[in-house]
Amino acid sequence: MIFKEADLKRNYKAIVLGGSAGSFQVMIKILSKIPKEFPLPIIICSHRLKHIRSGFVEALCLKSNKTVEEPLDKDAIKRGKVYLAPSNYHLNVEIGNTFSLSTEEMVNNSRPAIDLTFETAAYVYKEKLIGILLTGANKDGAKGMKRVAELGGLTLVQEPTECVIDTMPKAALAIAKIDYTLKTDDIISFLMQLQAGKEVV
């Protein structure tokens, strides 16, 4: 897979990664392949059971080269970190490079909602954001991806034929300008080729 040089060389500040049904294995694969020194913060929003607070982050950590953490409200977003939206909270990115959490109404029947994490990250990082949307069984994330694209960010969706359930990437493809439709291995390949991913931490 050949990527545009301009897309690889851009001075990105963060990556948002969303998914639902079937995405856990894909996230594990991505996190197990990118090196410990990968400097861009990766903000993950994944649909999860609301009454089960623990387990998910531990499972992600187990296979990842990096430590995955659930941010506390107003935690600073730091380079090189991987963050996971906590169960039963929406995860927002704030101006000033911090997180805030909220217990607002569910969006697309979800809390955390991928749309909210992506929209708030797009508002803050604009063209310096990469949005990646994986397999999933509902349309959450599509509007978020649209916003990422509208504000100049780069958009990647998982190749629908590779998805366990393709509703999520297809919904994004239907309404948003998507720069690349990629299989998991190509998503990894893209991240590894990023200039911003090679800077010394």
Binding site: K74, I95, S100, E105, L116, E150
Partner: protein
């Protein structure tokens, strides 16, 4: 294709100024992303632009109470985070030791679900007669709802399952009577609660409490306001009193942090140990 509505920082500042001027409520230290979403939500519900919203506020066509009601987040459930309530159930006897009475403040009680959860817990521990409860919110219409004790039946399934996960002892339905589509919380239990309108932005110390619960309210504030509110809580608390915040909130960084000792990090229960 309709473009997603959005607001710039300048626009947010403008509406914040207008609201402050007109209603004397200061939202400038609220967390920006959720505040922005609430404003966008009002615009969407009323099908108006920001300019029209501002005009309506200035011309008194948009009441203060309606604005507060729309801007605040009132999504709540009984026994949210059952593991916290399980812990609290075990902690209350210790919290009551050395004290004849407990004064509990639910700061930002919204529609009252947390207060009802507490009342049931205290009732089941047979200590309700030793407890005085203050429940406050900025929004008078939500306080009115909390006083009425009505919960839509469609929310009861979640409440019951949370209650059971929290080690509730009884048949949960015994605490409610059914009125058409609503379950109405026991008036007897509710009579131990004093509901008050309090804006945490402007509040000054008004009493001393043994336990202050403020869970998932601080997340709507920025750190400047969080810091002020945590100072207020510290000032409203007896030495040895307990502060409880939301599972994903933190006091570690704030000015009054050194006055508190962590009792349970996971459930965010702190004890005031220094003045």
């Amino acid at each position: 294709m309709i473009t997603v509505l959005d607001l710039s920082i300048a626009e947010l500042r403008k509406i914040t100024e207008v609201v402050k001027e007109k209603y004397s409520y200061d939202f400038s230290n609220y967390a920006a992303s959720s505040f922005k979403r609430r404003i966008l939500r009002i615009m969407e519900l009323k099908r108006i632009s920001l300019e029209q919203l501002i005009e309506q506020i200035l011309k008194n066509q948009f009441t203060r109470d309606t604005f507060l009601h729309e801007i605040t987040v009132n999504v709540t459930e009984m026994y949210r985070d059952p593991s916290f309530w399980k812990t609290l159930r075990m902690q209350i006897p210790e919290m009551l030791s050395n004290r004849d009475k407990l004064r509990i403040w639910h700061a930002g009680c919204s529609s009252g679900e947390e207060v009802y959860s507490m009342l049931i817990l205290l009732k089941e521990l047979n200590v309700l007669d030793r407890v005085e409860i203050i429940a406050s919110d900025i929004d008078t219409s939500i306080l009115q709802k909390a006083k009425e004790g009505k919960i839509s039946n469609k929310n009861m399934e979640l409440n019951i399952s949370n209650y059971q996960r929290s080690n509730g002892l009884n048949d949960f339905n015994n605490y409610f009577t059914i009125e058409k589509d609503n379950s109405v919380f026991s008036k007897t239990l509710l009579s131990s609660v004093s509901f008050r309108e309090i804006d945490l932005v402007k509040a000054i110390p008004f009493t001393k409490c043994d336990i202050i619960l403020c869970r998932n309210v601080l997340i709507y504030f920025n750190q400047i306001l969080q810091n002020n509110v945590l100072k207020l809580f510290s000032d409203c608390m007896f030495m040895g009193g307990y502060l409880v915040i939301g599972a994903k909130e933190s006091i570690a960084w704030c000015d009054v942090a050194s006055k508190f000792t962590t009792i349970n990090l996971e459930e965010k229960i702190y004890k005031k140990t220094k003045d």
